[in-house]
Amino acid sequence: MNIHEYQAKEIFRKYGIPIPPGEVATTPEEAEAIARKFGSTVVVKAQVHAGGRGKAGGVKLAKNPAEAGKVAAQILKLTIKGLPVQKVLVTPAADIASEAYVGIIVDRASKRAVFMASPAGGIDIEEVAAKTPDKILRHAIDPRYGLQMFEAMQLAFFLYSDMKQVRPAAKILLQLYKAFSENGGSLAEINPLVTTPAGDVVALDAKMVIDDNELDRRPDIAAMRDESAENPSEVEARKANLTFIKLEGNVGCVVNGAGLAMATMDLVKYYGGEPANFLDIGGSSNPEKVVAALRIITSDPSVKAILFNIFGGITRTDDVANGIVTAIKQSPLKVPLVIRLTGTNEEIALKILKENGLSAMTDMDEAVKKAVALATGGKAA
């Protein structure tokens, strides 16, 4: 789960990481009032779950309250990577002497949480990794002991040489690791970590991603989810316990299992079509999930044909068939439907479909070809 910068900053502040004050506004008037309270030049920052906010015009300086209101109005009209900006963070502008990067992620290769630190902060860290990999120090943390002081110092010495900065930076790293591990993070990042002309070390930005699997046991973190900042069809899918990602094509896909769902999308492309989405109905086969899946897919006007690809294991194909029949009774489909199903309770499923005037195929390739042909009006092979 993504959380906003201002939410990540709230968490980091609780752990004692030095972060400049800031408040959230949803209207230009609020932004202006906050800027007046700070009484200095402020930065107005779009709060949206997308990278590259600066490049998209989502981060702007304002010298006075009136200007803060004006730039907030501009930013609140933006849509960044398909997501409309609905909140801005207003924070006093800081004087910056240097910019560094620190972050933690869970690394598949070492099977541990790994720290990364770079004195080249403020810019896209991926770019640093590609162009000057020697400017990034990586360090894997033993989960049994957590980050130790000497490790934090090693990382801090990679960023700074003056002890007046090394010590506070090491402390920030220890606090960041605590915030990451105690809140179920899969990523925690400060970019940039800056030094001020007075020599203080301060976190100017904050980013945190929470492991979805942690949310059940962390209701306070789960409550931070901002549904207004997510794609509406992805929100509906999550509520129905479906995994859904919207794409640009015209063949809507309903599949059980992530691997098979990806392979189905690949096959749609192989036979000359374009998948409209990734949709995994998961292992259990509640008919209501199928109803929700069809509702989400049919709400996309670019979908010209719908393809079900179900390989029953835990998933019972008769449940899927019942879901399809229920959904069509509720609202008849306006686009053609191709059903491929095989596996658990296949005979019952085929009977249910037949009784309701539907049919199913058993071969995946044949079903995909047919769906592509229907979606493209026979233009693709």
């Binding site: 690394d107 598949r108 989960p143 492991d211 392979a263 492309k269 390989f311």
Partner: protein, 290 residues
């Protein structure tokens, strides 16, 4: 012969009285797996289905039954504890089916299990099956037939699809292993490839990967450097949008974005036959085994 499990496997089921655990225990027994006991705290002394003895702890179950493998169906918040309990009881082979185990839990479980010398398969995996001998987990038995091909996969239903197509073409399997799709899992591609290379009954291997990480690339290098048996592979996610599943920093650590194209190229460069569609696995195998 087969890999990891066979007729002699004596299996425990952790979470045997749960909905999924109970259902799949019946399926495993029906398939011929020797299920020697179950574990549910508080239900020790009872019997599952009037046959299988239930114990309060894994240690007690091992002592009473001589179990040498366990399969875990407990809910995600308790899965890490269940894996550690099994390793502490000295069970050499632990399969965790549970989906949704927090990844930070796995950073602790992985070294714990390894230090005690156990092999962990999963979590978030379908388990494994040695057709005609034993199955541990949830892979449907009727889609498999005994034969000479070993299969290892990161996914669940896509594995079924490929096995089903192989079985339709009368290509049987020694063992099919689902290693699971989580970022941290106990057994990886290389562990399975190594086991298949050493299994005299296995003459060819299928490897089914997905986008993300670099496991498939490393496995491809292992094939070239350490294996004599032919290996063919498929990668799912050729059309997946970049950056949707992995954070920025994940790509940095692995030094790559883990795209399907990159993995297929690694397959090609290291002599692993590349299937463009799942069905192409069948033809590649036929050619490799000629």
């Amino acid at each position: 012969m087969s890999t990891f499990i066979d007729k002699s496997t004596r299996l425990l089921v952790q979470g045997i009285t749960g909905r999924d655990g109970g259902f799949h225990t019946k399926q495993m027994i029906e398939y011929g797996t020797q299920v020697v006991g179950g574990v549910t705290p508080g239900k020790g002394g009872q019997k599952f289905d009037d046959k299988v003895p239930i114990f309060n702890t894994v240690a007690e179950a091992v002592k009473q039954t001589g179990a040498n493998a366990t399969v875990i169906y407990v809910p995600p918040p308790f899965a890490a504890d269940a894996m550690m309990e099994a390793a502490d009881a000295g069970i050499p082979f632990i399969v965790c089916i549970t989906e949704g185990v927090p990844v930070l839990d796995m950073t602790r479980v992985y070294p714990y299990v390894k230090e005690r010398g156990s092999r962990l398969l999963g979590p978030n995996c379908p388990g494994l099956i040695s057709p005609g001998q034993s199955k541990v987990g949830i892979i449907p038995g009727r889609i498999c037939i005994p034969g000479n091909v070993g299969l290892v996969s990161r996914s669940g239903t896509l594995t079924y699809e490929v096995v089903y197509q192989m079985t339709r073409a009368k290509i049987g399997q020694t063992t099919c292993v689902g290693i699971g799709g989580d970022p941290i899992n106990g057994t990886n591609f290389i562990d399975c490839l190594d086991a298949f290379e050493k299994d005299p009954a296995t003459t060819a291997v299928v490897m089914i990967g997905e986008i993300g990480g670099t496991d498939e690339q490393e496995a491809a290098r292992f094939v070239r450097e350490k294996m004599k048996k032919p290996v063919v592979g498929f990668i799912a996610g050729q059309t997946a949008p970049p950056g949707r599943r992995m954070g920025h920093a994940g790509a940095i650590i692995s030094g790559s974005a883990g795209t399907a194209a990159e993995k297929m190229q690694a397959f090609e460069e290291n002599g692993v036959g590349v299937a463009k569609r799942p069905i192409d696995v069948v033809d590649l195998l036929k050619r490799a085994m000629r």
